[in-house]
């Protein structure tokens, strides 16, 4: 019995010693723990940080896209304005926006010059539309003729069927052309109104003596050139308004340039009478 207990004590003692021997060194455990935790922090970023970094990444990408879009947009806007794109160009509306911004940002002395330049641009656009409309009206008259010819020449049933088909197509083309013509007419009226508005603003500036005297002559002659070329009386402007504008212009620019508006008026009335005759 005693031996049994002795053996048990020895067994326990030996087990305790083995355990003690097999205990890891504390310094080793501390170093190892530090290394492990450092790797955890380094290689597994916390979920919140991941989410945050995703947000940052998304923000970075959207910022990059935004900057690219701004860059492209501003490039296109500058191109549209510098190249003075045509009214049929896809960047035309962008050009108009840039022009509006330019007017807003221009200094009070620069504004009349810029507005005159814009009025000149509108006049050029109107001329372009007029030229295009002439072509369209020629096309319309040709189509009308072709339709009437097609209607007159058909005799047999087959020919009648073929000509009917032809007539339908031609009529459709004619309708499209007419619609196009109408559209351009509206645009032209709109442009003319804007041109006159710009001219009105320039005359206001001259009237209020906001333009330097050294620039006056050049500005007045530019405005005169545009006003002379603007022969039509379409748009929202009435004859009275037109005369009033001319009178104001003559009154303010008369001392700088020679304005022969009355003669112009007489010439025009003669021309119209000749046309009537």
């Amino acid at each position: 019995m005693l031996n049994f207990f002795k053996r048990k004590i020895k067994e326990y003692e030996c087990r305790r010693l083995t355990k003690r021997y097999c205990e890891p060194d504390k310094d080793f455990l501390n170093t190892c723990r530090e290394e492990f935790i450092a790797k955890v922090c380094r290689e597994i970023p916390p979920e919140k940080a991941k989410r945050f970094s995703l947000v940052v990444l998304g923000f970075k990408y959207s910022l990059a896209v935004f900057i690219i879009l701004v860059f492209l947009g501003s490039g296109a806007a500058v191109y549209a304005d510098r190249a003075n794109v045509d009214y049929a160009h896809p960047l035309y509306s962008l050009k108009r926006t840039v022009e509006a911004v330019r007017v807003e940002l221009a200094s009070s002395q620069q504004q009349p010059v810029l507005q005159t330049e814009l009025a000149q641009r509108r006049l050029d656009e109107i001329k372009k539309i007029e030229a295009d409309m002439e072509i369209i009206s020629q096309e319309v008259s040709m189509t009308t003729k072709e339709v009437s010819v097609a209607q007159g020449t058909a005799t047999t049933t087959k020919e009648v069927a073929a000509s009917t088909k032809k007539i339908t197509i031609k009529k459709k083309t004619q309708q499209n052309l007419e619609a196009e013509q109408k559209k351009r007419q509206e645009l032209m009226t709109n442009l003319r109104n804007q041109m006159r508005q710009e001219l009105g603003s320039v005359i206001d500036e001259i009237e209020n003596k906001r333009v330097e005297k050294t620039r006056m002559e050049k500005l007045c002659s530019s405005v005169l050139q545009i006003m002379e070329e603007d022969e039509e009386t379409d748009g929202d402007e009435t004859e009275e308004k037109r005369n009033e504008r001319w009178n104001r212009f003559q009154k303010n620019c008369g001392e700088f340039i020679k304005i022969d508006w009355n003669n112009n008026q007489n010439d025009k009335s003669q021309e119209s009478e000749n046309k009537r005759n």
């Binding site: 053996r7 021997y21 205990e23 060194d25 455990l29 190892c32 935790i37 790797k39 290689e43």
Partner: protein, 180 residues
């Protein structure tokens, strides 16, 4: 146990430092003892222990809670680590286990009873003679004081077969003391 460590593993996956600390504090001493018993060398055991925790971080993304417990998964890595070690080294002198380490020889030759000292040497020789399974169970049951339930989750063996194994190891140890 399973739920606790699975939750910790989940938190570790999300990069929670505290979960990593808890896992380390629980498993590191066990792994060290296991590696010491298996390799017989303190330095090797330390290297392997360090290595395994670095591997855990690399592989934590592949751990699937639905496929099993975290302790089973981490112990599998430990066992594979030992296998890799043997594959590389092929032969390991188990005499290292006792006397090559200064600390160890001090420990054995210090104020301890010479008879106990001798028994200790015999004990370590006995460990050397145990087979792989027995060494594993010895390190977990005798040195880490784990319950049969916990060992069964770790070793993926039934509790009854573990009891048989432990009984076999006990018998060998008893034999050692009976001879004294």
């Amino acid at each position: 146990m399973t739920d606790r460590f699975n939750k910790l593993a989940h938190r570790l996956k999300e990069g929670e430092r505290k979960a990593g600390e808890e896992i380390f504090d629980y498993f590191a001493p066990q792994f060290f003892r296991f590696f010491l018993v298996r390799t017989g060398n303190r330095e090797t055991a330390e290297d392997l222990t360090q290595e395994i925790f670095l591997k855990v971080i690399d592989k934590i993304g592949t751990f699937n809670e639905d496929l099993g417990s975290f302790s089973g998964w981490i112990w599998q890595i430990a066992k594979n680590n030992v296998k890799d070690y043997y594959r590389k080294k092929k032969t390991v002198a188990l005499s290292d286990f006792v006397l090559q380490n200064k600390e160890n020889s001090d420990f054995l030759k210090g104020k301890n009873d010479p008879k106990t000292e001798l028994k200790m040497t015999e004990m370590l020789d006995l460990i050397k003679d145990l087979n792989e399974e027995e060494q594993e169970v010895f390190s977990l049951r005798y040195l880490s004081d784990l319950s049969y339930r916990d060992i069964s989750k770790t070793t993926k063996k039934s509790e009854s077969s573990l009891r048989v194994l432990v009984h076999r190891v006990n018998k060998k140890i008893r034999k050692l003391f009976n001879n004294a």
